[in-house]
């Protein structure tokens, strides 16, 4: 009678131990980003933000950039915006920025009330077909590019992602990657830091 109970306890204890060990292990972001050798340079563009300031993509070189093509009429885009706001907040001091490119035909009259309504905390610029073409047409929204510190496209997400973890893992992976010409940091340090702050 005692043996099955003891065996059961052992299984439960082992499971708890394994779960605990895994929970505190440094996160290894899944390899959703392309290998560095396969990345292409993100096309340069010059667009205006909501304050009329000129924004050049090249200004962001050295940072990991989440470039989100979206529109006010795109309901799936609305799901992702709070995720991106969270990423901006969490990673902005670690060399990360979100840049939203609105593809609204009606311009700022449509976009400004929307971003004020959602209290968007990252920079929004007004896109156009020319910029869309540079990025392969951007036929459907949302389309989101993750750009590495060298200004190269590391991953592309088309359509609503399965969850914010898809992006988060890629961002951590890119932030954690050694900078060009820099000493190699301890592996997984940022991933561990982020996990610990979840």
């Amino acid at each position: 009678m005692l043996k099955p109970i003891l065996a059961g306890l052992c299984v439960v204890t082992a499971s708890v131990f394994l779960w605990t060990a895994c929970s505190y292990a440094p996160t290894t972001a899944k390899a959703a980003v392309k290998a560095e050798k396969d990345r292409k340079v993100a096309p340069e563009f010059t667009l205006k933000d909501a304050n009329g300031q000129t924004v050049h993509l090249v200004d962001y070189k050295g940072k990991v950039v989440l470039l989100d093509f979206w529109a006010t009429w795109c309901a799936p885009c609305k799901v992702e915006i709070p995720w991106f706001m969270e990423f901006e907040q969490t990673f902005k001091d670690k060399g990360f920025s979100v840049l939203g490119v609105s593809m609204d035909e009606d311009g700022w009259s449509a976009v400004k009330p929307y971003i004020q309504d959602l209290k968007v905390n990252y920079r929004i610029v007004l896109g156009n077909d020319q910029v869309g073409s540079l990025y392969g047409g951007v036929d459907s929204l949302p389309t989101t590019f993750l750009i590495d510190r060298q200004g190269k496209i590391a991953s592309v997400h088309i359509g609503l992602s399965r969850g914010k973890e898809d992006f988060k893992n890629d961002i951590i992976n890119l932030l954690d990657a050694p900078r060009a010409g820099a000493r190699v940091p301890s592996r997984g340090a940022l991933a561990f830091f982020t996990r610990a702050n979840d």
């Binding site: 529109a71 006010t72 009429w73 795109c74 309901a75 799936p76 885009c77 609305k78 799901v79 593809m103 035909e105 449509a110 929307y114 036929d139 459907s140 929204l141 949302p142 088309i158 359509g159 609503l160």
Partner: protein, 148 residues
């Protein structure tokens, strides 16, 4: 009538990557009289368009508009929308999907010249599937009308 059809490609089915508007039936209308004309639409499976009265102000409604002459479009009637829930929406959205029809009530002015004419219109729509949305489009539509 043949000449009219040959000159106007819009009498053929109008197709975009997700929406097809079937060629309209031949319409005969007497001067001073009215007629209902159906526009038959078909959406690619998996896609929907917002209805004429979307549930969110930011969504782009389906809208059919007609030129002011030679007929007068007195009323455009959309079908009853479906309320559908998608992965990206917390609440059901008012949409059209599959096959549906929009009916326009036309009136021929008493002063209209008899003979074959074209009525030109524009269909504005914005389509999405469960994960992504396509840019809003304006599709040219036309119907051949014989005014008697």
């Amino acid at each position: 009538m043949f000449l009219l059809a040959a000159l106007s490609p819009s009498l053929r089915a109008q197709t975009t990557n997700v929406l097809t508007v079937a060629p309209s039936e031949h319409v005969t209308i007497k001067r001073g009289a009215s007629a209902d004309v159906k526009l038959k639409l078909e959406l690619r499976p998996g896609f929907h368009v917002n209805s004429d009265k979307p549930t969110d102000d930011y969504l782009i409604p389906l809208k059919l508009t007609w030129s002011k002459d030679p007929l007068q479009a007195e009323q455009v009637t959309y079908p009853k929308p479906q309320m559908e829930k998608y992965d990206f929406s917390l609440t059901p959205l008012s949409v059209f999907s599959g096959n549906f029809e929009i009916v326009t009530h036309f009136k021929a002015p008493s002063s209209a010249s008899p003979g074959p004419v074209m009525m030109n219109g524009k269909l504005r729509y914005q389509a999405c599937n469960n994960k992504e949305c396509l840019a809003p489009k304006n599709l040219d539509v036309a119907i051949a009308v014989d005014i008697q």
